[in-house]
Symmetry: T
């Protein structure tokens, strides 16, 4: 059996509600076009401020997925 190779994509999920919701949004979006997503890492957490409170969380994540035999890494 061969050793698996994974590719990592970097995304920014956003949410008006919470950091966790922003992460969820990014992963759900990615899952629409990427099969075999396996894990994520949270990078920078930022956000906009509107009317003196958090407007929208912007959470950068890296998500990894298995490259299949005939799928390009590009």
């Amino acid at each position: 059996m061969t050793d698996p190779t994974y590719k990592i994509v970097e995304l920014v999920g956003t949410s008006e509600k919470s950091i966790s919701d922003a992460i969820d949004n990014a992963i759900k979006k990615a899952a629409q076009s990427i099969r075999h997503l396996g894990w994520f890492e949270v990078g920078q957490v930022r956000g906009s401020i509107a009317d003196g409170k958090v407007g929208r969380y912007q959470v950068t994540i890296k998500a990894g997925f298995t490259l299949e035999g005939d799928t390009g890494a590009g």
Copy 2:
């Protein structure tokens, strides 16, 4: 039109409830005296432990705001 300049202040928001609530508290506090707050970045997330569970979240953020024409940067 002139190029805007922003100033960044560093704050620690705290909350017994959640990380997000600590961020909100810091931004609301800052908004009491700073106009034109535009964005924030989350730095270190720490907290106290009491009775074997999280006592209070302490979240360091940097918040940026527009410097107005006649407002000091100091």
Copy 3:
């Protein structure tokens, strides 16, 4: 009175619910065997992905506690 010394342990808490819940789980687990836990710092936030959404948050924390007079640091 002597100057206190603290020891730091590194843990990974996990939760299917939220980042905060993963932190809570790690601290509660540590508190079962460590007395005098005083503070924590959040390190890396990662997680597994299952069925196109967050499977389980994995949050690395460092937790500090007071070393008692006759307690080993090892």
Copy 4:
């Protein structure tokens, strides 16, 4: 209205003239195939040396763009 998700790509722009020109070249190249580019961040700045002076600047940037409803994140 839904929360937008962004994807980040990492590029190295080059130029014999200046750091800014290298950034411009990378962004123009990316814009040939990516719609909705919104922002960039500069990472490492390197370059080759030829004949005792800067040969070519090599500037690593990350560029973010909006993922459209039916566009893959892969």
Copy 5:
């Protein structure tokens, strides 16, 4: 003679022209209200993208200045 103490402020200068121009803009703005500015350090270099090219450079700098005898550090 006493040992001088310096205070550091963090600013984001912007420019449509160049990174250097963004730095200049931030320092000129700061100099309108801060006396005795002595040095700066460049942090993050970011920017917006518009019409497939750099829209506006956003350069974060820290600028240091001498605290005078009767001037507040706050």
Copy 6:
């Protein structure tokens, strides 16, 4: 002649044998679908542990390749 632009992809290569073999595996996999790969940088080195010894090395690399005239950066 124009200034070349490069794109960087992030991969995780794995191997039961060695760190170098994990790197090789990632690059060979990437080369199946990316032309003009030019260089790589090693990031994080991790691995699984099984039966009290290294199970499988997991090596994160970034690999850079030349963007051709009519090839998308997406």
Copy 7:
């Protein structure tokens, strides 16, 4: 009772004697105008060299203080 918010200021203390003395100088200076200083963190330690030995230590610190109810964060 409300959750406290803290502000952080960044200072460079200097001393011809020692690193600790430079830290002390910065904190004493800050305390002339800031009430409720609570903690500090040491950042970069630099210094000038004169006559083949340390001329003056320059120690960057961040100092945190409690924001009072009616005190501005700016």
Copy 8:
């Protein structure tokens, strides 16, 4: 079922042969007293030099293991 908590220990493995062998040595040593080791991360790679060549590799790793129900985290 409960959410697992992991503990991380930091070790330095050494070897006269190779980096991989140093990692193996550290993990084998840890496995003599820790059950349920699951993963490792490589930190700093250093070594001694003797007779103009590598004397002994010194590789810092962090290794994670599952905390059992009644096992202390200390």
Copy 9:
């Protein structure tokens, strides 16, 4: 002869006097229960502020020691 393996523990030493004294306190405390301590590295230097001056230095160190043949790494 076998290759030695070392374990690293993380401690916070404190002192009202100086950074060096805080380091000494942590190492002396650790030496009460750990044999074969060999080296240390200084991490974060923090401290409390009381009455407008340094209250107590808090210095995080990592200390390494040789694991003996029959001593657990846990």
Copy 10:
């Protein structure tokens, strides 16, 4: 044919004009005494402030060059 070894030197170039000019100055100076300079990396960008504007850019670079067969690495 043997594998080449490179040495890296760290320099600070300065210029009143621009960051790029400061880099150029450092490389031209280095090229007066080092043959076979091949590449550079930009580190910290700092500068002095005079009369409320940038006085002189100070750009730290690392420059690499090929070690020749009989040339010392010291």
Copy 11:
């Protein structure tokens, strides 16, 4: 007896075979002109890609050596 002082040089070793071989090559090269080399630390690990596989590993190391009484540090 006096306290020893060490100097650190930064080198890039290369090899077509392995990371360890690249480190060995750099140290052997340095040892041709530097006496009293004592230790090394590995920095960045990069490499070229040729024909879809690793062309040549390029490993940056810092190597430390004892400064003798009458030997220059320059």
Copy 12:
């Protein structure tokens, strides 16, 4: 008048007494062979442990000096 260029050397000073004394030792040693030393930055602070207390501080510093017109940068 021309723009000055500086060279940076990296040294490890040691002392049985204090961190400051280790820095002093490194600078005094460097000053024996380098003219025009201007500044230093402190990097890593480590040390050996002997008999359950600090044996010898090892402080890594970078020291910068002015390159003269006819002095090599190598």
